[in-house]
Amino acid sequence: MTPAIQVTDLTKTFGDLIAVNHISFEIEQGEIFGLLGPNGAGKTTTLSMLATMQRPTSGSGTIQGKDIEKDEDGVRKAIGIVFQDQSLDEELTARENMDFHGRLYRIPPDLRRQRIDDLLRLVELHDRKDDLVKTFSGGMRRRLEIARGLLHHPSVLFLDEPTLGLDPQTRNHLWHYIATLSREKNITIILTTHYMEEADRLCDRIAIIDQGSIIALDTPQNLKDSIGGDIVTVRTSDINAAVQILTGSWIEQVELHHDEVRIHLHNAEQRISDIITLLNQHQIQIHSVSMHKPTLEDVFLAFTGKRIREQEGDKKEMMRRQFKMRRH
């Protein structure tokens, strides 16, 4: 079976800036594939190239065997997209937005009507179908966009930051939809996100992308396993001394980050007292000790030496949104 998406050495430069740097991956039919990385890592640019919105500087890609440069229309018919920013007409009703889309994709009238009803039921907007979109909440708009993206029965669905700016409850709700979709309709989904939890919960496989390059690609579980067992984080005023004494066969790896020592090890529950005893013996003052199972955040940190910094990203995003709102 041909892979749903095949990308080889895909590259995009804007002047001196290399937005996407020779990335390659394959996505199987029916898979949920995540591109995880901080803002500006090149996720959206990658998606834009695959969606034929931007031309690659070099490299190639195919979607369902169709070349993204040579067969634009073929690719466009095969994909559905939910953009990062809203792309609905607020002056039209939910049904009219769907209808517009259906006509653009030349779906015959009867079939169009049938599918619009079905999909609006699927995303639980059927009772609001004749209301103007400007009366909809953020979560409803997102659901409508997903329904619209599915109207022409694409075999691949692109979701660019599908839950950006939504409240946790709505986000959970949407995750549920996306997972159900992929299961029931066997649609291949490629999504970008900078939410660790989203990638972890939804994706079969994840490509961690930073500064235009893929730095790791595997299942969430394998990625977490790859950095080795559990993590104990010790905050102390003398990290260098701490590193010196924290040796032993049970310690897999020790990393330094600012005033923290991160110790990778197995069975942290049993070993944590050893660590504290060891540090106390050498009179190293401990500010705090914490222990957790590895998350994708830890994976990202281990591979890039920095945090994805969700918080900062969110703040910037919020400011950008507010700015946009004011301009309207």
Binding site: T52, D85, Q86, L88, E91, F100, L104, Y105
Partner: protein, 249 residues
């Protein structure tokens, strides 16, 4: 064709729902008609119209209404760009030409409807249409003006990032086009140095064409009017389509 119709249909739905826009763009030409028309009616004596300035002014106001509505309709693409809706259209398996033509016809249709509304108001104020044929001629010119200036608006919108430049375009491009078109005064009454400028203003030919249709009198041969404004419409559509094709988002 079905894609062009789809885009056109959306324009129509949006137009019908924007009551404030409909009323807003009627008000200006209507007030011009009332204030200038009645105010200057007995003062101004135009050859061929006698002391009936308001009759002279009416076709000009119809043209004004079409002009402003169509430019505005074209420029609205900027909003689609900002609200993200343009992306949805551009990523569909349709050509940019179809999208552009749909927008153009949509804008032209709303502009012609606005023009007809002014015509209806003019009828109430005493406009006497010469014949059904004359009315159709006027309507034809309105359609051509509408297409020209919607395409013009799309061309401008394709190069603009946001609405900040809108006022500038209105004041320094559209208003002079309107002012020098002979909508308010007969072009022959202008001083010699200004008269050539009105001759290169494409709207002059549109206004004269409508005036010929509605009142039966014009200062420029209506066939020449048709050729010039028709050519301008074709030219603007080509330029608009070319610039729209180059939009990247």
């Amino acid at each position: 064709m079905d894609i062009i119709y789809t885009i056109w249909l959306r324009s129509m739905k949006r137009y019908i729902r924007s009551k404030s826009r409909i009323i807003g763009s009627i008000s200006m030409p209507m007030f011009f008609l009332l204030f200038l028309g009645f105010g200057l009616n007995s003062v101004v004596n135009i050859p061929g119209f006698g002391e009936n300035y308001i009759q002279f002014l009416m076709p000009g106001m119809v043209a004004m209404s079409v002009l402003f509505t169509s430019v505005f309709s074209g420029i609205q693409i900027i909003w689609d760009k900002q609200f993200g809706f343009l992306k949805e259209t551009l990523v569909a398996p349709v050509t940019r030409m179809e999208i552009m033509l749909g927008q153009t016809f949509g804008g032209a249709t709303t502009a012609v409807i606005q023009g007809i509304l002014i015509m209806v108001i003019s009828l109430a104020l005493g406009l006497k249409v010469q014949s059904m044929f004359g009315f159709l001629i006027a309507l034809g010119f309105m359609v051509i003006i509408g297409i020209s200036f919607t395409a013009f608006g799309i061309a401008i919108a394709s190069r603009m990032e946001d609405m900040t430049g809108f006022q500038l375009i209105m004041n320094f491009v559209i208003f002079p086009i309107f002012g020098l078109s002979g909508a308010l005064f007969p072009i022959r009454s202008l001083p010699d140095w200004l008269s050539p400028i009105t001759r290169i203003d494409p709207l002059t030919y549109g206004v004269e064409g409508i005036r010929y249709g509605l009142t039966g009198a014009s200062q420029i041969n209506p066939v020449l009017c048709f050729l010039v404004i028709g050519g301008f419409a074709c030219g603007m559509t080509v330029i608009g389509a070319f610039l729209f094709r180059k939009i990247s988002i």
